[in-house]
């Protein structure tokens, strides 16, 4: 069963090439790291998959559904919450999610908040970077999706919060759902991923099983850095 199938995807924005001839297939139930330097196109790729960026060429199917609006029902993507004012409380954001997403599960949201040690009465403005990221993860896993897209969930997050976020993924990812996590480093998530997809020069340069890389190289991190040698 395929969670995602992308064929010959190209995406240009203001006559600039963002993605070029991307082909990518992800099986259901996998945890996948989407890696690449900043600006390589990771966020754009997620936005195209999620149907947020529309002017692309090629085909994108999620659980066999190509239509942008209809494939949205299978996808939950992290949101930076930048549209919410600092004075808003966590429970206000949950109210919004409940309205917009019919698959939002209140009980699950309460459970994850508790696991993350977050209080629904706290205001967004009072949250640290790590707490805010935990909230974003709690919101995304409170939805019942087939494909979860987490865009850089660890940037600016301290080590303890990172551990908590990783545990929450293992706890709340539905077994048959696929999880894509973008990041520009790999060390922290390496033990939990099945596959690595490396984006470079606007396209998918490599797609490898994490265990295979470990068997053949000193570490996944070393393998990854090898693609950027001599570029600093």
């Amino acid at each position: 069963m395929k969670a995602l199938e992308i064929k010959d995807l190209s995406y240009h924005k203001n006559s600039k090439t963002i993605l070029e001839r991307v082909n990518l297939t992800l099986e259901a139930g996998k945890i996948v790291a989407l890696v690449g330097a900043n600006g390589a196109g990771k966020t754009s790729l997620m936005r195209v998959i999620a149907g947020l960026a529309k002017q692309y060429k090629g085909s994108v199917e999620v659980c066999g559904e190509a239509d942008e609006d209809r494939r949205k029902q299978y996808i939950a993507m992290t949101d930076s919450l930048s549209a919410f004012r600092d004075s808003r409380k966590i429970k206000d954001v949950a109210d919004f999610y409940r309205l917009v997403y019919p698959d939002f599960d209140d009980k699950q949201f309460a459970d994850i908040l508790e696991f993350m040690n977050l209080n629904a009465d706290e205001r967004l403005g009072s949250l640290s970077k790590g707490m805010k990221e935990k909230l974003i993860i709690a919101l995304v896993f409170s939805r019942k999706a087939k494909l979860y897209l987490l865009d850089e969930p660890f940037s600016g997050v301290d080590a303890m919060s990172r551990k908590k976020i990783i545990k929450s993924m293992l706890l709340w990812k539905p077994e048959e759902a696929t999880l894509v996590i973008s990041d520009h480093v790999l060390d922290e998530i390496a033990p939990v991923i099945d596959e690595v997809v490396l984006i470079k020069k606007h396209s998918v340069l490599e797609q490898r099983s994490a265990e295979e890389i470990r068997a053949e190289h000193e570490s996944i991190e070393e393998w990854y850095e090898g693609f950027y040698e001599g570029e600093e």
């Binding site: 545990k167 293992l170 706890l171 077994e175 265990e211 470990r214 068997a215 190289h217 070393e222």
Partner: protein, 122 residues
């Protein structure tokens, strides 16, 4: 637990469970924790735990009862074999480290014997 970066994790999970059995933390015929519980305990992917358990089942160290979970084999000779494999693995690592330090294989037994003599408890 901290995993080595240059060895597939499913192999390291196998070793981790073998060690628990060898130490008696998991006994013959005892039920293993669920896949999900092991994944959380070790902070690894459930698919990787599944793979480790599949390998262990194929080798006959554990067996599956449909709908009940995975159990350590009750075949004592199988468990002895597993334990001796584990010991050989440790010995191989020890010998290889000593060789890197320039100790010849022939001098190992003598060195070890005198070390054991020196550190003998009264």
């Amino acid at each position: 637990m901290k995993f080595k970066d240059n060895l597939p994790i499913y192999l390291q999970i196998e070793d981790y469970i073998y060690l628990q059995i060898a130490q008696g933390k998991l006994k013959a015929g005892e039920k293993l924790p669920s896949v999900r519980a092991l994944a959380l305990e070790l902070t690894v992917n459930a698919n990787t735990v599944q793979r480790a358990l599949r390998e262990m089942t194929a080798k006959g160290y554990i067996f599956t009862k449909r709908g009940e979970g995975n159990f350590v084999t009750t075949d004592e000779s199988r468990l002895e074999e597993m334990k001796s494999k584990l010991l050989k693995q440790e010995l191989a690592a020890f010998v290889s480290r000593m060789e890197k330090l320039g100790v010849e294989r022939e001098s190992l037994t003598g060195l070890l014997a005198s070390y054991l003599e020196d550190t003998r408890e009264e």
